[in-house]
C-alpha cells in the first residue's frame, strides 16, 4: 500500500506544489519490498550467469541430438527431434526475453506525472482529504476521468461483491461499473448498494470483449480499467498505472494476475506456471514493446481502443488480439510487475482445462490466421518475434505427448530414438545440461522447486492438441464461464485422454519390466515409461479426489432442490 492509504496516515499537508508524499513510496517500506519481490531475481547479476550456462547447455544438447552418429531409428528420432526442437527454441527465446526483464518502464515522465497526479489544494477545498476515492486524477495538469469495469457473467455473488467493494474503494476519482452478462437482479441490487453503476446489455455475443465494447458506448471516460469478477483490486490500482498515460502513445498498462488461492495442486501448478510469465516474461516483453494485455487488471486508453474499432471480439482470447492490433497501429504497451489485484487461479481440473483451452486456442489462432512473422503485419522485428513466441508457446504443451510415445515405441517395437552405444552417463550429462539448468532457472526465479508445474505441464497435452485442432478447423468450442454453472463437473469429463494414456503406459510399464526385468536399470526407456506412468497416475489421483468431492457436493445440493 502506498502512503495514500490515509486510514493509517495523516491527511496530506496543504499548500502547493502538490505534496510529494501523496504519491511517493518512500514512506512505506512495505510497498518497495513488495515491488521488488515480484521480480527481484530479474535484477540479479546471477540470473545472467545462470542464463548463460543454460544457453550453453541448450546448445550442447541440440548439438548432441543433431549429431548424425547418435541418430537412431527414424520414427522415434523424428518424434524426439520435433518435440525437443520446440522445447529448445522456445526455451532459448524465453531466456532471451527474461534477460530483458530487469527493464523498468517507469521513466522520468512517469515519476513526474505521478508527483502531480493529485491537486492537493483542490482536495482540501473539497474537504476530501479523508476519502481518497474522491481525489481527482490529473495528467499533465488536465483532469482525467477514469472508469473501472468489473465484468461478470454468472459468478458467485459474494465474489462479485468482494471485487466491486474493492473497485469502488480504489484511490482516485473514478466511476465503477458492473458489466453484468449474467443478467442477475441480485448483482444489480448489489451494485446499487455498493455505489457502482450497473450495465446489462440486451444483446449477447463477443463475450467479455463484447461486454466491454457495449459499456464503452455508455461510459465516456478517458481511461478505463478492466477487472474480472474475481480479481479484487488494491487501492493503488490507478495511482500506479495512470501516470504512464502521460506519454501520449501508451495504449494500456497491464499488471500481473496474482493468485490468492494457492491451495490445491491444480491452482498451485497453474499459478506458479504463470508466475514466471508475469514476473519475468511480461516485464521482458516491455523492452520489446510487446507486453500484451491479459484481460484483467489492465488500464486502457479509450482513444487507443477507439483507434482499432473497439476491443477485438472475433477471438476467444480477445485480450491478445486487441494488444496485437494496438501494436500494429503503433501504440505502446506497458507492463508493471507489481500486484495491483489478487484473484483466483483455477482450482479444479475442469476450470484449469477450460482456461488453458481458451488461451491456447487464442495463441494458435494468431499463429494460423494472423502469423506475426508475415510481411503484411506492421510490427517491429522485436514485436514479431515476441508475438511469434506467444503464438507458438502452447506447442510446448504438445511436445510431452510426442515424448510420451517414445518409450513405448522402444519397449514394444525396439525402435530407439538414439544410438545404443551412447553411454547413459553421456546422455545424462547432455540431458541435464538442458533440462537440469532449466529447472535451475525455475528454482532461481521462483525461489523454490515447484513440482506441480512440471506435473501439470506433462499431462496437459490433450488440452493443447484440442486447442490446436479447434484453431485449425475454426471450430467453436462451447465455453462456459470459469465460474460454476450447474454445479461442479466431474474432472473425468475432461481427462479421458489422460486416463486412457495412463492405462496404456501402465500396461507398457508392466510389459517393459517383465521383458527387460533383468536390466531395467540400464534400460532407459523402461525407466522413463515408469516415470511417465507415475506422473500421469499422480494427476489422475487428483482427478479422482476431485471427482469424489464433486459427487459429494452434488449430493449435498440435490436434496435441497437447488440443482
Amino acid at each position: 500500500m502506498t502512503s495514500l492509504d490515509t486510514r493509517s496516515a495523516p491527511p496530506p499537508r496543504p499548500g502547493p506544489p502538490p505534496t510529494p508524499r501523496a504519491t511517493t513510496i518512500q514512506g512505506d517500506p512495505q510497498a518497495a519490498a513488495r515491488r521488488r519481490d515480484a521480480n527481484a531475481a530479474a535484477h540479479s547479476p546471477s540470473l545472467m550467469l545462470i542464463m548463460l550456462l543454460a544457453t550453453l547447455g541448450a546448445v550442447a544438447y541440440a548439438v548432441f541430438l543433431l549429431d548424425p552418429d547418435h541418430r537412431g531409428d527414424w520414427l522415434p528420432y523424428v518424434l524426439v527431434m520435433v518435440a525437443e526442437t520446440i522445447l529448445l527454441v522456445l526455451a532459448l527465446l524465453a531466456m532471451w526475453t527474461v534477460l530483458s526483464s530487469g527493464y523498468d518502464p517507469r521513466d522520468f515522465a512517469y515519476h513526474q506525472a505521478r508527483e502531480r497526479l493529485f491537486d492537493t489544494p483542490q482536495v482540501l477545498h473539497d474537504d476530501a482529504a479523508g476519502d481518497p476515492t474522491r481525489w481527482q486524477l490529473y495528467l499533465g495538469e488536465r483532469p482525467v476521468t477514469v472508469d473501472v469495469f468489473v465484468t461478470t457473467c454468472g459468478e458467485d455473488v459474494d465474489t462479485i461483491a468482494r471485487t466491486v467493494r474493492a473497485a469502488v474503494a480504489v484511490h482516485g476519482e473514478h466511476r465503477t461499473w458492473v458489466l453484468d452478462d449474467g443478467r442477475s437482479d441480485e448483482v444489480r441490487d448489489l451494485a446499487t448498494t455498493l455505489g457502482a453503476r450497473y450495465v446489462r446489455r440486451l444483446s449477447g455475443g463477443g463475450q467479455k470483449a463484447g461486454n466491454v465494447n457495449h459499456a464503452l458506448s455508455i461510459a465516456k471516460g478517458d481511461l478505463f480499467a478492466i477487472l474480472d469478477a474475481d480479481f479484487v483490486p488494491r487501492p493503488e490500482l490507478l495511482v500506479e498505472t495512470v501516470p504512464f498515460f502521460v506519454r501520449e502513445d501508451v495504449a494500456f498498462v497491464q499488471s500481473p494476475q496474482t493468485y490468492g488461492n494457492m491451495t490445491s495442486l491444480i491452482s498451485r501448478g497453474a499459478g506458479y506456471m504463470q508466475a514466471v510469465f508475469y514476473r519475468f516474461v511480461q516485464p521482458g516483453r516491455n523492452r520489446f514493446n510487446a507486453a500484451f494485455c491479459v484481460g484483467t487488471n489492465v488500464v486502457f486508453r479509450r482513444s487507443a481502443v477507439d483507434d482499432i474499432g473497439g476491443m477485438c471480439t472475433d477471438s476467444k482470447s480477445e485480450d491478445v488480439w486487441t494488444s496485437l492490433h494496438l501494436h500494429e497501429r503503433g501504440w505502446r504497451s506497458v507492463y508493471i510487475p507489481q500486484t495491483l489485484a489478487v484473484g483466483d487461479a483455477p482450482e479444479t481440473i475442469v476450470a484449469y482445462a477450460k482456461q488453458q483451452l481458451r488461451w491456447a486456442t487464442g495463441g494458435f489462432e494468431i499463429l494460423l490466421q494472423h502469423n506475426p512473422l508475415s510481411r503484411r503485419r506492421e510490427l517491429t522485428l522485436d514485436q514479431r518475434l515476441q508475438y511469434f513466441v506467444t503464438s507458438t508457446h502452447y506447442l510446448s504443451g504438445i511436445a510431452p505427448l510426442l515424448l510420451l510415445v517414445v518409450p513405448p515405441l522402444q519397449i514394444y517395437l525396439g525402435l530407439a530414438p538414439m544410438r545404443l552405444d551412447v553411454s547413459p552417463g553421456t546422455w545424462a550429462l547432455y540431458y541435464l545440461g538442458f533440462y537440469g539448468l532449466q529447472i535451475a532457472i525455475a528454482f532461481f526465479t521462483l525461489g523454490s522447486f515447484r513440482w506441480e508445474v512440471l506435473l501439470l505441464a506433462a499431462v496437459s497435452w490433450p488440452i493443447y492438441v484440442k486447442a490446436f485442432w479447434n484453431a485449425l478447423t475454426g471450430k467453436q468450442q462451447a465455453w462456459s464461464v470459469t465460474g460454476r454453472a450447474g454445479g461442479p463437473t466431474s474432472p473425468f469429463e475432461v481427462v479421458v485422454p489422460q486416463t486412457l494414456c495412463f492405462v496404456f503406459l501402465l500396461v507398457t510399464s508392466v510389459v517393459g519390466v517383465w521383458q527387460y526385468g533383468g536390466d531395467a536399470l540400464t534400460n532407459l526407456s523402461v525407466a522413463w515409461n515408469v516415470t511417465n506412468t507415475l506422473i500421469l497416475g499422480g494427476f489422475l489421483l487428483t482427478a479422482v479426489r476431485e471427482h469424489r468431492a464433486a459427487r459429494g457436493s452434488r449430493r449435498a445440493v440435490v436434496p435441497g432442490g437447488v440443482a
Binding site: V496, F504, V511, Q515
Partner: protein, 243 residues
C-alpha cells in the same frame, strides 16, 4: 460423470488394452527371434587345376553351369604329360583326369556343383598347379550370419532352430541353424551361425542365391516363457486367416 463419458472411458480402455495386447504379441515375436547384423550367402568353393603345364584346347562349361561329378570341364594338351606317359611315369588309369590316346587331357569335375568361374580361355597356357576353374560344391550353400546377442539370449539359440532368410528382393527362404560359434564383444555375445537351407541350395549359383549376396537372417530363439503358448496360438491364428 455423464453416461457418455463412462462409455467413452469404457470403450477407450478396451481399445487401449487390445492395442497393448497386439503390441505385446509383436514384442514377443521380436523377442523370440533375433535378426543378424550381417549375413551373407557362402558356399564351399572347389578349385580345379592342372597337374601338368600345358595349353588349353577346349572349355566345356561356362560359369553358372550345373555339373555332376565326372563331367568334363576343359581339355588341354601337355607335352610334358605326353612325355611322362610315353616313358611310363604316369599310367592312364591312375590319373584323376581322362587322357586320350593322342595325349590330350580332359579335366573332370571332382564334385557335383555349379561352375563359379573359369580362369583361362582356350589357347591359354597353364602352369602346373594353376587353378583353371572353380566350382561351388552342391549342398554346401549356406548363410553365414553374425548375431549380436545378450548373453542370456545366446543360450536360446539351438541347433536346428528355424531361420527366416530374406533375400534382397524380399523373397523369403526357410533355413535352419547348423552350427554356432561365439565370441564376446562389449558385454554382448557375437554368435556366428551357419544356416543351411535346402531351397537356397537348389537355387545355388543362380540369380540372388549366389555366394556373397547379403541377406537378412532372423533366427528363431528357443522360447520357454509364459507367453510362448499364447504366441504359438496367435501364430496359428494368423496362419489360419491367411496372414
Amino acid at each position: 460423470m455423464t453416461w457418455t463419458t463412462r462409455l467413452r472411458l469404457a470403450v477407450g480402455v478396451v481399445v487401449v488394452l487390445a492395442l497393448c495386447a497386439a503390441l505385446t504379441l509383436v514384442l514377443n515375436r521380436r523377442m523370440s527371434q533375433v535378426t543378424a547384423a550381417q549375413a551373407t550367402i557362402v558356399a564351399e568353393e572347389v578349385a580345379v587345376g592342372a597337374d601338368y603345364a600345358g595349353t588349353i584346347v577346349e572349355s566345356h562349361v561356362e560359369p553358372g553351369d550345373d555339373v555332376e561329378q565326372g563331367d568334363p570341364l576343359f581339355t588341354m594338351r601337355s607335352l610334358l604329360l605326353a612325355h611322362d606317359l610315353s616313358i611310363g611315369v604316369v599310367s592312364r588309369k591312375a590319373a584323376s583326369y581322362e587322357i586320350s590316346r593322342d595325349g590330350q587331357m580332359t579335366v573332370v569335375s571332382p564334385v557335383d556343383g555349379v561352375v563359379s568361374s573359369i580362369l583361362s580361355t582356350p589357347g591359354g597356357f597353364v602352369q602346373s598347379g594353376q587353378v583353371v576353374a572353380s566350382l561351388y560344391r552342391q549342398g554346401s550353400t549356406t548363410v553365414d550370419a553374425r548375431l549380436l546377442l545378450d548373453p542370456a539370449d545366446f543360450a536360446r539359440i539351438r541347433q536346428g532352430a528355424y531361420v527366416r532368410i530374406t533375400l534382397p528382393d524380399q523373397s523369403e527362404v526357410p533355413g535352419e541353424v547348423v552350427s554356432i560359434a561365439v565370441s564376446s564383444t562389449r558385454n554382448m555375445a557375437e554368435a556366428q551361425v551357419v544356416v543351411s537351407s535346402a531351397t537356397l541350395d537348389q537355387q545355388a549359383g543362380a540369380g540372388l542365391a549366389q555366394p556373397g549376396t547379403p541377406v537378412v537372417a532372423s533366427v528363431e530363439l528357443h522360447d520357454s516363457g509364459a507367453m510362448s503358448d499364447v504366441d504359438l496360438a496367435f501364430q496359428r491364428f494368423l496362419q489360419r486367416i491367411g496372414l
